[in-house]
Structure formats: C-alpha cells, structure tokens
C-alpha cells in the first residue's frame, strides 16, 4: 500500500525528472535544423546568402528573428511577400525553432560593394539618430533589435524603406520617417560595410 510519505517522495522525484525549459531549447535547435535546411535555398547554407537583396539570417538574434517570422506569418509585414507566404507553412513553435537554429550559426559579414563616401555620410546619420544605441556599437543587435552590421546592403535599404512607409510598424523605428531615400541608401552603405 502506498502511504502519504511515499506519494510525497514520488512527487519530488517527478518534479526533479521534469524536463526543464533549457533542454526544450536544445531540442528546438535540432528541430529548427530539420525544418530550416530548406530556407538555405534562398538564404544560403547556414543562412549566409552571398546575395544583396536577400537578408543574411545565420547568426541573427533569435528574439528578433522569432518576432519577424511571427509577424510575417500574421500578415504584419505584407510587403515581404515571399516570407509572408512561406512563414504561413509553419506553426509558431516551428518558427521559433527555425530562428533558434539560425541564431546558432556563424554570422558572416556581407561582401557587397560599399560606396565609401556614402558610408561615411551614413555613419554620421547613424550617430545623429542614435541607431547604434539600440543596435550596438557595431550593429551587432540584441534581443528584439536585429543584427544590422555586415547585413546585405540592398536588403537593409529595402527594409528601412518599409519602416519609413509604415509597412512595418515599430515605435523604435519611428525616427526613420524623417529620413529620405538617399539618406537611407547612405545608412545602408554604412551598416553593410561594418565588417
């Protein structure tokens, strides 16, 4: 017969054996690898696309990337047409896994050609607007703030235009509405050129 003490002991054992969140995270990275390999067709092996207008995703911050993928799936970034279609093919948990997997990959800086004069001007714009206060001194990003230093140039330019037009809603990016396209191009040259 099972007495109260034994029941209590069993409860303790069960609590200790309960798989905590950390090992769930580990499993999620492998799940993300399983699901995320197909992303490489457009984003390059390990998320390191050699292109200019498709974003690098290998080594991106998982919090930001999960947020972005969720917004794609929810139709909140409708101008990213490809991603709006593709992300709908996955559950919220799967999107998180994919983000986690790519965050474990090595970030490789863009090799896009940089116009140095524009980059210089872009640096001044970044400093004036405090871009690096949130995105980090080298644009390395943190939490909800994406890594932007060394990102592909054309991709940065197009995404900034979407923040400016309000196609992507973000309170933090509000101040970008005061910049014109030529300034965004300079910013893109600066940010992509951080290597």
């Amino acid at each position: 017969m099972i007495n109260g003490k034994l029941l209590f002991f069993m409860a303790i054992v069960a609590a200790v054996l309960y798989v905590p969140a950390t090992s769930f995270a580990e499993a999620s990275v492998s799940e993300g690898k399983r699901l995320g390999k197909t992303c490489a067709g457009c984003h390059g092996t390990a998320g390191n696309t050699p292109g200019e207008y498709i974003g690098k995703i290998g080594g991106q911050n998982p919090t930001y990337m999960t947020k972005a993928l969720t917004e794609f799936a929810d139709g909140k970034r409708a101008k990213s047409v490809e991603m709006s279609i593709v992300s709908k093919g996955y559950t919220q948990e799967q999107l998180k896994s994919i983000a986690m997997y790519y965050s474990t990959q090595k970030w490789v800086n863009s090799t896009n050609n940089i116009n140095m004069a524009k980059a210089e001007a872009g640096k001044a714009i970044a400093m004036d607007n405090g871009c690096m206060d949130c995105h980090g001194a080298n644009g390395e990003g943190m939490d909800e703030y994406p890594r932007i230093g060394g990102q592909n140039k054309g991709y940065l330019y197009e995404v900034m235009k979407r923040y400016k037009s309000g196609d992507i809603k973000s309170d933090e990016m509000e101040l970008i509405t005061e910049l014109n396209d030529a300034q965004l191009d300079k910013l893109a040259n600066y940010l992509s050129g951080i290597r």
């Binding site: 984003h43 200019e52 207008y53 490809e82 593709v86 709908k88 996955y90 054309g154």
Partner: protein, 433 residues
C-alpha cells in the same frame, strides 16, 4: 576493362583530392582488379548526377557525417545551371555566368567527383557500373534529371533535326544555339517556342523564355513575331503574371496559341506542323514531352513497364524498386511522391531529406520527419521578376507530399527581379560552394 592513361590519371587525381586514402597499391588495384575503381574502405554513398539534386545531396551528406565517403558520378565537366539559362537566351547573361565547377565540393568537403557515364546497376551486389569502371556503394542516390521524348514528334528523332529544333531545357550547347540564332536573325523574323505537355522540367521555364525572347526581339529585332505553341490548355505556371507581362510589354510580338501540340517537323525545310496549323519559323525552340533521364531506364529503376518517371517514397526518397537506391529531383514520379513541381528548388529540398535519411541510415538512426519547400523566380525582362512559393509536408495518410501553404507574387516588380538574381547565387552556393 581497359583503362587509358588519361583516365587513370583522372581517377588517381580525384582520389588524391579526396581523403587521400588511396595509396600506391590502390592505384594498382584500379588497373588489376575486375574493374573496381576506388575500392570502398568505409561507409560510402555514391551520388549519380551532379545537378541540383545530386550536388545538394553530396554536400549535405558530408555536412551530416564527414566520415562517409561521397562519390559523385557526373558525365559533364562542370555544373551548368538550367535556371538563369533563359537569361543567356535573352542576351543579358553569358554561359560563363551559369557554369560552376565542382572544385569547391572537392576541396571544401572532400567529395570525390568521377566524370563517367553510368551503365548498369547491380542493386544486389551494390555496384554501379560506369564506362570508367565499377563503383561499390552502401547506398546510392540517383538524381539523373530528364530526357526528351523526341519520338513523340514525327521527324524530330534524329541528330540533325534536334540541332535544327533544339529544346534547351538542359542548359548547354543548345542554349547557345538559340541565343546565337536569335542574334543572327534579321528584323521582322519569326520565332517559335513550343511548350511540352506536363509534367515537364521547370513549369515556368518555357514562359520565362518566351518573355525574355520577346524582350530581346523588342529591343533588337523590330517587327519580329514570337509564336508560342502550347501543348497545354493554358500557361502552366504563374499564368496570370506571365500573361499580364505579355499584355503590358509584348502584345504586338507574342502570339500565344494554347492547346496546340507539335505533330511533326521537317528538318529539310524547317517546317513545323502543329495541331492548329503550319509554320516555318526563322528560329525554332521545340521542347518535346519529357521522361526521367534515360539513365534511370538503363539502370532498371522503373517499377512498372510503362512508367516514365521513377517511383520513390517521399519520406526518405528510397525507390520503390530497389532497397538502398534513392531517387530525387525531376526524375521522380509525381503520383508516387506527390504534387510537387519539377523545379530546382524542389530537387534541392528533396536532396536534403534524402541526404539526412541516408546518413542516418548508415549510422543506424531512424530518418527524421521530412520537410520541403519550393521557391522559384522568373524574369519577364532584364529587371522585373515574379515568383511562386510553397511549403509542403509529408502526409501520413496518403504517404505523399502535400502542400501546406503557397502563393505567387501579386505582381511583377524590380525588387522581385533582384531577388531572382540573389535566389540564383544563393541556391548555387547551397549546392556547390
């Protein structure tokens, strides 16, 4: 088996670039043993075909388990991309832009590449016989691509006729032929593109070609006409988008005739007879109906006598015909694997599933649940692109691939055109770098 000195050097240099396990006595083996080349010492996967499916599989097997010896058997010296080959025909890319060597796969991953022609498969003994010798394997992945069914069009089944009416859905000399003939054509000339019945490789491919030839004619050959004879009753892929582009840009150039298959060709006069009429175009691009590459037939991979494509189960892509023989890419049977287009991206996706399953099998592990994606861009002129995209899953009930979500671009624009270029360089790097 006889072996020429040149071939002998070829194998041994390939071996030296690989793991380096082939010492002197192994080299002796090449010439002395009963045709076995590069004798197998550990786990080995042979990959037949170094295209979208094969190159991807080879790289991803090595990424999964570098200890597996991976040997690609490919008859061509270099990879030539079918995707973007229409841009060569359209006059704004060169063959050099779409030709990539296998060197990076050899150097970066230790993959071996043997340039040979597959002749016979012994699925019992696990040996692939090629014109250069026999390769032993534990598992083999076959990604052979397509062959044309020239015999379905009267008068086309000869070397001379094929040259006069090239198909060019395998990028290479035929791509160049069409580009050169367009360039040589006088203004006010006529061009014919004949679209094959489905299923065929790259559903939007012929329509992208139509768009880019029209774009070329508009700029360089005023007054010319482009006839499109489609065996299908409508544009097969991205239909609304292509037709919108044709209406906006090429309405006075393109004449699209649906439901019009080619009955016969005359190599002497250049006359083409179709269901709905005759034409003698200055430049003809006739794409015949397709089947899995003839190699798949020669190796005995067909499950049923009249099959034209190879049946494989899409959880791992092991063939229904032979155990330990996997098949991916355009050569797969739609009824067996499910409704996925015969696209490069799908081949790339299938190859990753097969690569993982094969590597795991050699390590005594169960395959993972597969996942597949397709994304494919086409250009309608030098700048503007359109695309189709879809995510698929494995459906337990039907044992086939099923679409979860998908769609096409809402319109054509320059950003999608830039994405089309990036797409190409990204997926090439995913396969070959």
């Amino acid at each position: 088996m006889s072996i020429s000195r040149r071939d002998f050097i070829k194998y041994t240099s390939v071996a030296a670039l690989g793991t380096g396990v082939l010492g002197c006595h192994h080299e002796m083996n090449v010439s002395k043993s009963a045709g076995i080349m590069m004798p197998k010492s550990g786990k080995r996967i042979v990959v037949l075909g170094g295209g979208w499916g094969g190159a991807t599989a080879a790289k991803y097997i090595k990424q999964e388990d570098p200890s597996i010896d991976v040997v690609i058997v490919e008859r061509e010296d270099n990879f030539i991309s079918c995707h973007v080959s229409n841009w060569v025909i359209g006059g704004f890319k060169t063959m050099k832009d779409i030709t990539i060597s296998y060197d990076a796969l050899i150097k970066n991953y230790g993959i071996k590449v043997v340039h040979a022609e597959a002749k016979e498969l012994d699925a019992e003994k696990k040996q692939l016989k090629t014109d250069k010798g026999i390769l032993e394997y534990d598992l083999i992945l076959v990604s052979p691509g397509i062959s044309y069914r020239y015999e379905t069009i009267a008068g086309l089944n000869s070397a001379e006729a094929i040259k006069r009416f090239p198909a060019a859905m395998k990028a290479g000399p035929e791509t160049v032929m069409i580009a050169e003939r367009l360039a040589a054509m006088k203004s006010g000339g006529s061009v014919l593109v004949a679209v094959p019945p489905t299923p065929y490789r790259c559903p939007p491919g012929p329509y992208e070609r139509v768009s880019l030839i029209a774009n070329y004619l508009k700029k360089n050959k005023p007054g010319s006409k482009l006839f499109v004879f489609d065996s299908n009753d409508d544009v097969v892929s991205k239909g609304k988008l292509f037709k919108a582009a044709w209406k906006d840009y090429y309405s006075d150039i393109i004449e699209y005739v649906p439901d019009n298959y080619i009955k016969s060709v005359d190599v002497g006069t250049g006359k083409v007879v179709s269901e709905k009429g005759e034409i003698t175009p200055d430049v003809a691009n006739i794409i015949p109906a397709m089947k899995a590459n003839q190699t798949a037939f020669d190796l005995g991979l067909m499950s049923k006598e009249k099959d034209l494509w190879v049946r494989a189960e899409p959880y791992t892509f092991e063939s229904y015909k032979y155990k330990d023989v996997y098949v991916v890419g355009d050569a797969t049977h739609n009824g067996a694997v499910g409704g996925v287009p015969k696209s490069g991206y799908v081949a790339n996706s299938m190859a990753k599933v097969a690569a993982s399953a094969m590597a795991r099998k050699l390590n005594g592990q169960e395959p993972l649940v597969p996942t597949y994606v397709n994304t494919c861009y086409s250009l309608v002129n030098e700048d503007e692109g359109i695309f189709v995209s879809a995510v698929y899953k494995y459906d337990e009930a039907s044992k086939r691939i099923k679409k979860i979500s998908g769609g096409v671009s809402p319109t054509m624009n320059a950003l999608f055109g830039r994405h089309a270029q990036d797409w190409a360089t990204s997926i090439w790097s995913d396969m070959l770098l």
